[in-house]
Amino acid sequence: MASFAPLAPSPPTSTAEARLSLTELLLACDAARPCAEAVVEWLTVHARAAAAACVAREEPGGRLVCLAARGLSEAQCASLEPQQDDTRHPLVEALTRDAPHFLPSPRPPLPRGETAEGLFTVPLGHAGSPPVGLLLVWASGPALPSEVSWVASHAGPFLARQATGPRGTGGSDLFRRIIDAVVDPILLTDLVGHPHLANARAEALLVANPGSSEGRRRAVRLNQRVLAAALASTASGGVPGPSRREVPLVDPVEGMDLLFELVTQRVYEPDGREAMVSVLRNVTDLGRATQALGESYRRLRATEREARSERHRLDRVLDSVADPIILSAPSGGTVMMNDPAEKLFTPPPNAGRPAQRRVRTNHATFASFLANLLGAEGSLRWRGQLSLVDPASGATRPMEAVASKVMGDGGELTGIVTLFHDRSEALEKARLLERLREVSTLLEARVQVATAELAEQNEKLRRQAIQLEQASAAKSQFLANMSHEFRTPLNAILGYTNMLLQGVSGELSPAQKRNLTRIDSNGRHLLEVINEILDITRIEAGRMPLNLSDFRIPELLQEVMAEMDPIIARSKLAVSTHLAPRLPQVHGDRQKVKQVVLNLLSNALKFTHEGAVKVSAEYAPSTAMLSISVSDTGIGIDPAQQEKIFEDFQQVDSSPTRAYGGTGLGLSICRRLATMLGGRVSLQSTPGQGSTFSLHFPRRTRRT
């Protein structure tokens, strides 16, 4: 920054001292205005100028401003400052000259000096570059005072530097044009990032005029901060060589995000201070391209991953299919196959020669199968039966195969999918089915034979049943007829005996009467036997139906006692009736109940010589069963005989000389009748002490 102007040849002492003092003054100045003041002051004193002024281009903007003036009014000073667009102002024109110029009569708006007619315009600035300002000296012309040219040559660069700031340091217009021509922004900054020099591109990013839009100013501020931070961190890094980093900036005009590569190199300024030269390279497009590339790479990877997983899934799906599947290329070559197919078309691990041969056989078989489809132009599908061989075992694997062409979008053949279906199982099933059918037919035949036999047996049984029925009916008829045939003569025997005993044929002698009585009693016994045989016959022939009605036990027992009264009267027994309270009404066959009770009572009376006979009736609600019991104090029955006496024609004493009368059919009939009523006859007896016979029957008899 401190660039000293070269010293001019030594001037005369008096003026030399004045020049030295000015030079010292200028060196002490740190701004354009005091510098200009000093120069103008000095000129009016030492160059005998009537008036002097210093104008310079103001940065930024380049407007000419009056830095200092002597001998001019304020208005005159103001007239030295042309308007922004005033290109015809005399000073604008003067600035285009690079050598001092004398205007003998300055045209307005330039003020005229009071004492001097003319005006010298002396360009200020570095030699070889456009002047940055003018030194205006109102003096008599036309020769330029030597002090003026000295001041201009010495103070010019100094003033120029002060007036234009850092930019002035930049040097020549050429340099400026050169760096402006560079498409990348270029900056010279101090170590903390304050810019000393910036080319047009850099200014576009980092400089805002007071008249700029708010958006642009904000963008510029942001860019300045970002860049300052980047440079500061680079500077503190202390890397000797050029350092590179990326900085994101904002396009102040478009507002777009831009990405720059910042290349920074430390340099030393002429004054020995460290500075940094930074070149910003717009890599936004590159960054975007990189980003896009990265994105598409990622997408590609994702797609590839997806495809791989899809493929993996497809593989697993295919492998999970139990049937072999092969995908073949249009040429016939195998592209892929699933696990079941591999078992047939690839040799198993450590396969021996036979296995390899079988695999080759399978391939050949498959190839000739595929040839059918490949050879057929129009058809998309080919179905066939293949006989493959299991490579491991050599077992034949009958297969049904369906090959389908896979067509591409353009209708071209892209592959052939072949599905195999193992028919072994189906064939085995068919075989089993056939076998089953045979067995079934056989079985059916056997069943038919058995059925026929069964039918025959049934027919035989039916015939036998009919025969039995007929025999039974014949027996019943025979017995019925026989009883009729017995009764007819017996009717006459008993009738005439009855008449004789009544004296119809005259009075009888006692002996005749006794003998007739014996005929009568034997006849009656015979009748009784015949009647009882007839009863049993009727029961067995099913010709003794149930006649159901409602009746009461007390009335029934009363009737029984009444009918038995003559016999009871003849005996010397105490006969009593015991009725339990609340005996319910009975629904049953009254006649049959009565017949049983009569029979039991008659037996009791017959087999009891002394003591008592008790008839009792009771009801068990829990079982809804009635019991009518006849207890006696008679001879009793040995336990061994107790079951036997219910059999036909059985008495305890079956000998012809037995002591007791009766047919021996009574209890047998009682048991049958009790069964018909849905009940039974029970016996409790102790020989020598007596017996109790009981009829048990339900309160309500049901027809069976």
Binding site: A480, R487, P489, A492, L494, G495, N498, R538, M544
Partner: protein
Amino acid sequence: MTNSSPTLKPLVLVVDDYDDAREMYAEYLEFSGFRVAQARNGQEALDQAFALTPDIILMDLSLPIIDGWEATRRLKNDARTRAIPVVALTGHAMTGQSDEAKGAGCDSFVTKPCLPDELVAEVRRILALQGGAQAR
């Protein structure tokens, strides 16, 4: 209706093909104070009944020519003999015969063997019913 009158003894027609039984009952009925007519078969029974209009008929059911059931049915279908009570006599004690007899129009049913005095008791019972009915 009948030729019976308070002064005349009731006339009983005994029909039975078995002579011993028929004559036995006839004898005992006469002994017991009835007038008796006899028939050996169903045809005779019809002829006698139409001819004599007895007060009561004892009809054995198993008869030659016309059986007892048929004879009873004809008697009951004829206005002249419809009112004469018929007591069926049978040696067949099988169930169903009494029902059949009632169906044919018999007023009572007696199973043989039947002692003469028991038969007379039944005849008297039926005639008493008949007389009571007539009295009303």
